[in-house]
């Protein structure tokens, strides 16, 4: 319709001018000079007029032209434009030459800047569309895993909606967020600053459809990132979405369907083993270590079978099978793009539905995008990028909750039924899992009540619904050639609604919370977060005297973020059907509440790029940022950066070396900052509402620090880019050193100070990250028959040291520390000395390397009860308890020291096979999963417990099991395991239907593919997966496996049709 309207306008124009001139018809075909195939979408214009057309799918065109026409212009993106005298020809065939310069990769550097990869002097890594497209992931961060040197992406669990932990060149802060800055189409994106209140998950990156992304650039060094100044310390990930192109009107339809499963599931004891081991735990605690005292604290035979349905077989439940399932994922996307010289468009709609590997876990997203660029005048350009996404996440309680699927779900007794004979859930009077014939007379035996996890997953609700509008509009004028003035206004609006329903049938929140008999509880949180960003900048690009190319950028930027949250609670629902706040269906309502906070940024920035003949390069960047977060005296920071480059291959003495096609060395240095993750009012003393039952009061909630200032990163980078052997080998090598000073920390105070939150935001200490990165892209095989094998190998090695701390002692988080002279996250633990083969006692080394063993089963009468357990030395004589004085630095950290990926693509006649390996190592994982699953409490254990010590002389690593013995399983190096792994991250097989066939159906391309994600992992790690990390927001306690849901393996089948 649109097209015909355009045609009629052209005709009208022709008609009007027809009074003065005769017209005639010219037709012809435009082909690619290299392939000799017809080129669709080429603009054909009569020179000096707006009279024109574009070629059809086979490159053909027909155009009525005035008889006076002398020349036609043929132009298309990616090709060098050609002018062709017409003469009297009625038929014109022309072939266009691909524009090599235009086809080289362009890297977006921010604020209107972009640079050819060949001209870069900073360290920038790039992933293009084809590596992102059609992966079975909901957010782009997961698609980047292993693709980029120096960029570590840690998918933390298989729970849907979990954010990945992204670290660029290591963790660059101690307590602030180490997540990079994300910039979407030139506007900073909110990614980390919206913690959810309930245990629902919200991944702000999941609101961007990965298939809408054209490219992802990662700015790693100061020179590249300094234009983002204070927010660039953790690196910058610049995401550019697809935009329409002149003359290429395309429709693309993508869809995939996949099946997903857990990489590995826990293998827990069956009912028989569970009962044997549980009763052995009780027996050992009762009859002790042969001192003759019978400790009657715990009864014997605590675990007994039950046959509730009377079928003569003891009831048994494999809770793992009840909780896990095979998930599915389906995705549908339609995208339209195209345009002419006045208007270009890209629009898409997407629907994604993922059913997770845990019962009831499901995430659905619908999104739509419209990118529009208008050029009504040659000197005026304007456009918008608009994205709307709605994500509905049916979440689950995770590792942080007692009722979490991986907490009660892994440890529940297997010797009870899951369901009563009538099909209802098997529950006890408290709404928890029924006890069967197990003796759980009070909670002294088991640490907690066992929740009925399938019932919890089915009956409770942990929903998160987010609606996100990401939009920006720009307006650019070019008052004189080369000078562009741009104003750009962006908004990132998110409204996030969390709704948790706790059923009154089950123990926990749903029961009587708001008063006796009040069954069912709804908690609703609504959070609105609005981020405004306004940029005004000028770009000037000009080449003087043919060799001096200058690019200048200068501008100002304002940003303000506003957060508003309200919540409400209701209980006592009239029926389990009603699970939301609806009038007249509940009896009691707790008073609601809410919160407000705002913060702002104000910045000036400038950048100067100069190159001489594409041979010598220099650039300088300066940014000044002020943030309302900091103390009034320290709000503003200055962030300069500079770089130089020398393209040696352009020198005349290199011209004869044919093996080297391109060679560039470059160096950069600069200072960038970090403030992300600090509270909005981190520098201030806050005295806020301090309600005392019915009375209003004020309470101090934060001790401020007016001296709080920027955390600075001084980044040095020296690198080399080379293209060898007819560009068949491309190498990029970097050495980097990143000195971070003024480390911002919510510095822990001694608890005895009483300071609210036991911390005060401070600038403490400094550290460095240094390392090397290498990327090698090669065309290994390229045969005349069309067979190619290309590969891309990347790797990085990194070393971290804390160089100073202004706190009097180490900064401690869990079992890990920041300690001067050591790597961030160093483990500080007592050392495990194995199990004493003579008596099964757990043994540890004291500070002098002597053995201390814990005799857990020992009891002496005390009052009417017993004092239990004692510490012995190696000789079996009583000694003092293992204490913190015996703890040692382990010279091991949770951070990988090397990581990378190896991607291989084999292509032959439309078939392509991809094999992508990801590797990482040098780190140690604190295996909290194994520690919890080998607990001596009355709970189910993993199979490893079968190796427990039972008989004198037995050599094993699992101590004698004594009920509720916390000492033997205490934190120690026993739980520290190597996190090295090599993962077959992706295997893909695709087939592109032959062009002739596709064209016959009026299509441009038709591709089918199948893909296996996380196919196999080579690792010695004993937990479910070495990559899990329960503390993604922590930089010190990084690398703890705390019973997260295991990651997902997926099998996907998809099609991709272009029309």
């Amino acid at each position: 319709m649109k097209k015909s309207l355009l045609m009629s306008l052209v005709l009208m124009f022709t008609f009007l001018t027809g009074a003065f001139a005769q017209t005639r018809t010219v037709s012809g075909r435009v082909t690619d000079r290299k392939t000799n195939e017809g080129l669709p979408g080429v603009t054909v214009l009569v020179k000096g007029t707006t009279n024109g057309t574009s070629t059809n799918s086979d490159g053909g065109f027909t155009l009525d032209v005035p008889s006076t026409t002398s020349t036609l212009i043929f132009s298309s993106v990616g090709y060098i434009s050609q002018e062709r005298p017409v003469g009297s020809d009625a038929s014109i065939s022309i072939s266009l030459v691909p524009d090599v310069k235009q086809l080289t990769e362009v890297v977006v550097t921010g604020y209107g800047g972009s640079q050819d990869v060949k001209d870069l002097t900073g360290s920038v890594a790039q992933v293009k569309e084809e590596k992102l497209l059609l992966q079975p992931v909901v957010s782009v961060d997961q698609a980047l895993t292993g693709r980029l040197a120096g960029v570590s992406i840690n998918t933390t669990s298989g729970t849907l909606g979990d954010q990945a932990a992204v670290r660029i060149r290591g963790a660059n802060s101690i307590s602030l967020s180490s997540q990079p800055l994300y910039v979407l189409d030139g506007v900073p994106l909110n990614t980390v600053e919206q913690a959810n209140n309930l245990s629902t998950r919200f991944n702000p990156l999941a609101d961007i459809n990965p298939n809408d992304i054209e490219s992802v650039n990662v700015l790693k060094d100061a020179s590249a990132a300094a234009i983002y100044g204070s927010r660039a310390a953790n690196g910058v990930i610049v995401i550019t979405t697809k935009r329409g192109r002149n003359g290429q009107n395309r429709v693309s339809v993508n869809s995939y369907y996949g099946v997903q499963q857990a990489i590995r599931k826990p293998v827990v004891l069956n009912a028989t083993d569970f009962m044997a081991i549980s009763n052995e735990k009780a027996y050992n605690s009762r009859f002790g270590s042969s001192n003759g005292v019978v400790n009657t604290t715990y009864p014997i035979d605590i675990a007994k079978p039950i046959d509730l349905n009377g079928d003569g077989v003891n009831d048994e439940t494999n809770w793992i099978n009840e909780i896990f399932r095979n998930g599915t994922q389906q995705n549908y996307q339609v995208a339209l793009s195209g345009g002419n010289e006045f208007a270009k468009y890209y629009g898409s709609g997407d629907w994604n539905d993922q059913q997770g590997i845990i019962l009831q876990n499901r995430l659905r997203r619908g999104s739509a995008r419209l990118n529009l660029d208008l050029t009504p005048k040659k000197w005026l350009k304007a456009g918008v990028s608009l994205n709307y996404a709605k994500t509905y996440n049916q979440g689950i309680n995770g590792e942080g909750a007692l009722a979490g699927a991986t907490v009660s779900g892994y440890t529940a007794p297997p010797n009870v039924p899951a369901y009563l004979p009538d099909g209802s859930y098997y529950l006890n009077s408290l709404g928890n899992l029924g006890n069967g014939n197990n003796l759980i007379p009070n909670s002294a035996i088991a640490p907690n009540a066992y929740y009925h996890i399938p019932a919890t997953l089915n009956l409770n609700k942990n929903d998160n619904t987010s609606q996100r509008i990401l939009g920006n509009g720009y307006f650019t004028v070019e008052p004189i050639t080369g000078l562009q003035l741009t104003t750009k206004y962006g908004i990132d609006y998110n409204t996030n609604f969390e709704e948790q329903y706790s059923s009154g049938i089950l123990g926990g929140l749903g029961r009587n919370i708001l008063g006796a008999g009040q069954l069912g509880l709804v908690q609703d949180y609504n959070t609105d977060r609005t981020q405004f960003n306004w940029q005004n900048y000028a770009n000037y690009d000009r080449t003087f005297a043919e060799k001096h190319t200058v690019g200048v950028t200068a501008g100002v930027e304002y940003q303000e973020t506003r957060l508003r949250r309200i919540y409400t609670v209701a209980g006592g629902f009239s029926d389990d059907k009603f699970q939301s706040i609806i009038d007249n269906v509940f009896t009691s309502q707790a008073p609601g509440g809410g919160n407000l906070s705002n913060y702002g940024f104000q910045s000036y920035f400038g950048r100067l790029n100069y190159n001489f003949g594409s041979k010598y390069y220099a650039s300088f960047t300066l940014r000044s940022d002020a943030s309302s977060v900091f103390g009034v005296n320290n709000q503003r920071g200055f962030f300069p950066g500079g770089s130089v480059g020398w393209r040696i291959s352009e020198e005349s003495f290199m011209k004869n070396i044919s093996a080297i096609n391109d060679l560039k060395i470059r160096a950069s240095y600069g200072k960038v900052g970090n403030s992300s993750g600090l509270g909005s009012y981190a520098a201030r003393t806050l005295v806020g509402g301090g309600l005392y039952a019915d009375a209003n009061g004020f309470t101090i909630s934060q001790v401020g620090n007016v001296e709080l200032g920027w955390e600075n990163s001084k980044k040095f980078d020296i690198g080399l880019d080379a293209a060898l052997l007819k560009n068949r080998i491309n190498v990029t090598f970097d050495f980097f050193n990143n000195d971070v000073s003024g480390l911002l920390l919510l510095a822990p105070t001694l608890r005895t100070t009483g300071v609210p939150g036991a911390s005060i935001a401070r600038n403490v200490g400094s550290m460095y990250n240094r390392g090397i990165e290498l990327t090698v892209n090669t065309v290994n095989v390229k045969l005349d028959n069309g067979f190619t094998w290309t590969s891309s190998l990347n790797g990085s090695i990194i070393k971290n040291r804390i160089t100073s701390l202004s706190t009097p002692t180490d900064i401690i988080s869990g079992v890990q520390r920041a300690s001067v002279g050591r790597s961030l996250g160093v483990y500080y633990l007592p050392e495990w000395a194995g199990v004493n083969p003579a008596n099964g006692n757990a043994q540890f080394y004291d500070k002098d390397g002597n053995i201390k063993q814990y005799d857990a089963a020992y009891a002496v009468a005390a009052g009417t009860g017993f004092t239990v357990g004692r510490w012995l030395n190696a000789a079996g004589e009583p000694t003092t308890a293992l204490s913190t004085a015996d703890y040692k630095y382990q010279d091991k950290t949770g951070y990988p020291t090397f990581s990378g990926g190896f991607d291989n693509t084999f292509a032959f006649k439309g078939i392509d096979l991809g094999i992508f390996l990801q590797y990482s190592g040098g780190n140690y994982v604190y295996n909290g999963y194994r520690s919890a699953m080998l607990s001596s409490a009355f709970q189910n254990n993993i199979e490893e417990v079968k190796e427990r010590w039972t008989t004198p002389g037995q050599v094993t690593n699992v101590p004698k099991q004594v009920l509720r013995d916390a000492q033997s399983n205490q934190a120690s190096t026993r739980w520290l395991e190597k996190g090295d792994f090599l993962r077959l991250r992706q295997i893909s097989l695709g087939y592109n239907l032959p062009d002739q066939l596709v064209k016959r159906f009026g299509m441009n391309n038709f591709r089918i593919y199948t893909l296996v994600q996380n196919a196999y992992t080579f690792t010695k790690y004993k937990g479910l997966d070495p990559e899990v990390n329960s503390n993604i927001t922590s930089n010190i306690a990084y690398g703890t496996d705390g019973r997260s849901v295991p990651p997902i393996r997926s099998f996907t089948f998809g099609i991709n049709v272009g029309i």
Partner: protein, 476 residues
């Protein structure tokens, strides 16, 4: 062409204008939810609210929001071992036990409230009337003393562990450190002796008695805010722990003669939602549905909803001592029938019935009476006054078939003291008394002996690791 240039220039001007009229106010952010510390003490009304805020901090979910009482009772001979509270209920916490660490942190966090208030009120003199100023200061000192009383009893051996109480107590923190001082080496304080901690508690309470009012006007304030009688009763308890019985009797006597308090009609009245404020409850930490320690910490959750603590040993006290139809059984236990064993059927207390909204009882008049009775019995032996005080408490709940005590019921002072201790056990159960009452008489609890290393909690590892002057309790 000419026209084009004009428009281009116009565009340039418009953009420059836009840039010039920028919004620098984005940097000017004040928290919408908080005042500065200066503002919070700017006038009489705000100072009053800052004073009330100290009670908000007293509600600390990990401490006197109820947990501090639980940590005492689950180690006594009145409860089954409770596994929910880390290793506390089973006497095997590690030094890094999360529950223990939170209790320590919560206690000192509570104390920061009064310390901060005292610091700020000194900087803002004359903004409230001298009477009110003394009142608020008295409340601050009462809250600090109450918190230290629980801290020192949780983390240190009882007062009588050494003859002069010279064994290690807890760290005495009387300042509210700010950003400049919180990281100072002087904050790495050693533990004071138990004697020093008790001396500070006595000093605070003595000064509080001077400044606090006898009573307030609103029903809520009468129980929910500190009064002279609250401080007197607490001080009398402190003296009992120190073995200063005459002083204990004197202080409790002042409350009795004051006549502002009396026992309610049944022992259930102080534990009933509508009557949390009553003539008997001298001081409780108030709670309501919207302001409470939450579902994982409130007394009512642990005792009455989650059933984390069963009280069969209490219900199994022989009927000779605790008759089957004693009102404290009938009204305050469920089921009220005597169980067959410690595990069957499980018995729970009904003192905390309101989920999260239960008040935390700190001092009740019943305690005042028993404090005085004990003080008298220890100093003047079996007297009519001591016996009648004991009867006041006992007769409210005993069945009609049991006869009241008379002087002749007791062969000697010790027999009277034992009867008083039994009555404390029956009457004040699950209010944080029993374990400490055993310890101060060097008696064993059912599962631990007096003076055992594990009879007290470890000093949390997090502070041990960061404060070289802090000494760990033996055995941890």
């Amino acid at each position: 062409m000419y026209q084009n240039i004009t428009l281009r220039q116009l565009g340039l001007c418009a953009l420059l204008l836009a840039t010039a009229t920028g919004c620098d106010k984005v940097l000017d952010q004040t928290p919408p939810f908080a005042l500065t510390q200066e503002d919070a003490f700017a006038n009489a009304d705000r100072i009053q609210k800052s004073a009330v805020g100290m009670y908000d901090q007293l509600q600390n979910a990990e401490f006197l929001g109820g947990r501090a009482l639980i940590y005492s009772d689950i180690r006594s001979d009145d409860t089954n071992p409770a596994g929910f509270f880390g290793g506390i209920g089973t006497f095997n916490p590690l030094a890094n036990d999360g529950t223990v660490t939170n209790a320590w942190t919560g206690g000192y966090r509570t104390i920061y409230g009064p310390n901060f208030f005292l610091q700020q009120i000194a900087k803002n003199p004359g903004k409230v009337s001298p009477t009110l100023e003394q009142n608020y200061i008295g409340e601050a000192k009462f809250i600090r003393a109450l918190t230290y009383f629980h801290l020192v009893n949780l983390f240190a051996q009882p007062y009588n562990f050494t003859a002069d109480a010279s064994h290690l107590g807890v760290v005495l923190q009387l300042d509210a450190p700010d950003a400049a001082t919180a990281f100072d080496a002087s904050q790495a304080k050693p533990r004071s002796t138990v004697k020093e901690v008790y001396t500070q508690i006595e000093k605070d309470l003595t000064e509080a008695i001077v400044g606090l009012p006898e009573t307030y006007t609103t029903t809520f304030d009468k129980t929910a805010r500190a009064t002279k009688d609250a401080a007197r009763t607490l001080l009398s308890r402190v003296y009992l722990y120190e073995g200063r019985y005459a002083d204990a009797a004197r202080l409790a006597g002042e409350v009795v003669t004051g006549g502002r308090h009396s026992l309610t009609s049944t022992p259930a009245v102080p534990f009933t939602l509508a009557t949390f404020s009553n003539v008997e409850s001298i001081f409780s930490v108030a709670m309501n549905v919207s302001d409470n320690p939450n579902t994982n910490n409130a007394l009512g959750q642990h005792y009455g909803r989650r059933f984390d603590i069963s009280v069969n040993p209490y219900a199994l006290i022989p009927v000779a001592q605790f008759p089957a139809d004693d009102r404290r059984r009938l009204l305050l236990l469920t089921p009220s029938t005597i169980p067959t064993s410690t595990s069957s059927p499980l018995v729970y207390t009904k003192k905390y019935n309101e989920a999260s909204a239960d008040y935390v009882p700190i001092t009740r008049y019943a305690e005042t009476l028993l404090n005085r009775a004990e003080g008298l019995a220890q100093t003047t032996g079996v007297t009519a006054e001591a016996v009648s005080l004991l009867n006041l408490v006992r007769d409210r709940s005993k069945p009609a078939t049991s006869v009241s005590y008379t002087i002749s019921s007791f062969a000697n002072a010790q027999a009277l003291v034992d009867a008083i201790l039994l009555e404390r056990r029956l009457e004040l159960a699950f209010e944080g008394h029993r374990y400490y009452d055993l310890m101060r008489y060097k008696r064993n609890s059912s599962r631990i002996t007096y003076g055992a290393e594990k009879a007290i909690l470890p000093i949390p590892q997090v502070d041990i690791l960061q404060n070289p002057n802090l000494v760990q309790n033996p055995g941890y």
